[in-house]
């Protein structure tokens, strides 16, 4: 099922446009940090601790996006069997793991000074811990299966299981009793609404866009490396096949 035509055997280094995107992302990250740490006013209830929200919420939203895209490319791999889809699924899943870890650590950092506890096993936090554990499982499974096609299929199923947990996680603060506050902003067909000062919303949205760009850069670079690895693996298999033929 794996199709060698789908592997772009890049042999050079990182393309110049990807380096340029990386530099732009670093500059935008600095602007986002400036807005959050200097421009944002303190919140009436949380004071300066509101500045943690910009880091924590942006990481959490990007984690959700990464999980969705990892599952989408996993489904595409199950459907079309193209190795390029598996490579992209892995790139998204690796970023999902990174952002899930950041969401948990950042949430603990936010929770201790505001709610006086690092952790509690309520619905929202438990579901996030489960999401992280499932993403770790995704890579454990990949490490256990040698066959490339089977590895792609099994890990795609794990990615779909992770995706299935997402709606419960997203709605946990509304559906279950939890220490985690409900969503700060409501996104609906009518647009984005909230009761807070608009400056908080705009600084948060800017930092969400920056986190999404950081994630985009990670995925593009990881996909490039995945294509190099797949090309190398294919060449090694071809060499091994020729050796076997000579031995026979």
């Amino acid at each position: 099922m794996s199709d060698s035509r789908n592997i772009d055997r890049g042999t050079g280094g990182r393309p110049a446009w990807l380096n340029a995107l990386g530099l732009m992302v670093v500059a935008l990250f600095a602007v986002g940090a400036y807005l959050a740490l200097v421009v944002s006013p303190p919140d009436t209830n949380q004071g300066d601790l509101i500045r943690i929200m910009y880091a924590h919420v942006s990481a959490a939203w990007v984690c959700f996006l990464a999980v969705i895209l990892a599952a989408v490319f996993g489904m595409l791999y199950l459907w079309r069997g193209r190795i390029g889809d598996d490579i992209r699924a892995v790139a998204h899943a690796e970023s999902a793991l990174l952002f899930a870890g950041l969401t948990i650590i950042g949430g603990m950092t936010y929770s201790k000074p505001t709610l006086n506890t690092f952790w509690t096993w309520d619905a929202k936090l438990t579901l996030t811990a489960l999401l992280f554990a499932l993403l770790v499982g995704y890579f454990v499974v990949r490490g256990l299966v040698d066959d490339r096609e089977r590895r792609g299929r099994v890990s795609a199923v794990v990615a779909i299981v992770v995706l299935a947990s997402l709606p419960f996680n997203w709605m946990a603060a509304e559906w279950f009793r939890t220490l985690h506050p409900s969503k700060s902003f409501e996104v609906s067909a009518a647009g984005v609404s909230d009761s807070a000062d608009p400056i908080f919303r705009w600084i948060l949205l800017f930092n969400v866009v920056v986190a999404a760009l950081v994630y985009t850069w990670f995925v593009l670079e990881r996909s490039r490396l995945g294509r190099l690895e797949a090309g190398l693996e294919e060449r090694r298999e071809a060499v091994a096949g020729r050796r076997e033929a000579i031995d026979v």
Binding site: T11, G13, R14, F29, A33, A36, L37, G47, D48, L49, R51, I52, A55, H56, A59, L98, G101, L102, I105, G106, T109, Y110, K112, P113, V214, F218, E221, R222, R224, L225, L228, E229, G231, L232
Partner: protein, 40 residues
């Protein structure tokens, strides 16, 4: 141990976490890229 921390200490820690995570993953990708490009 953490009860005496000021709000700004928590704020600094949360942004430092982002820097460490992004920087660490970037370094990991760079190292992996160098090894791969040597092999290719």
């Amino acid at each position: 141990m953490f009860d005496g921390w000021s709000p700004w200490a928590w704020v600094a820690l949360s942004w430092l976490e982002l820097l460490v995570a992004y920087g660490g993953y970037m370094l990991y990708l760079r190292g992996r890229s160098r090894r791969l490009e040597d092999d290719v």
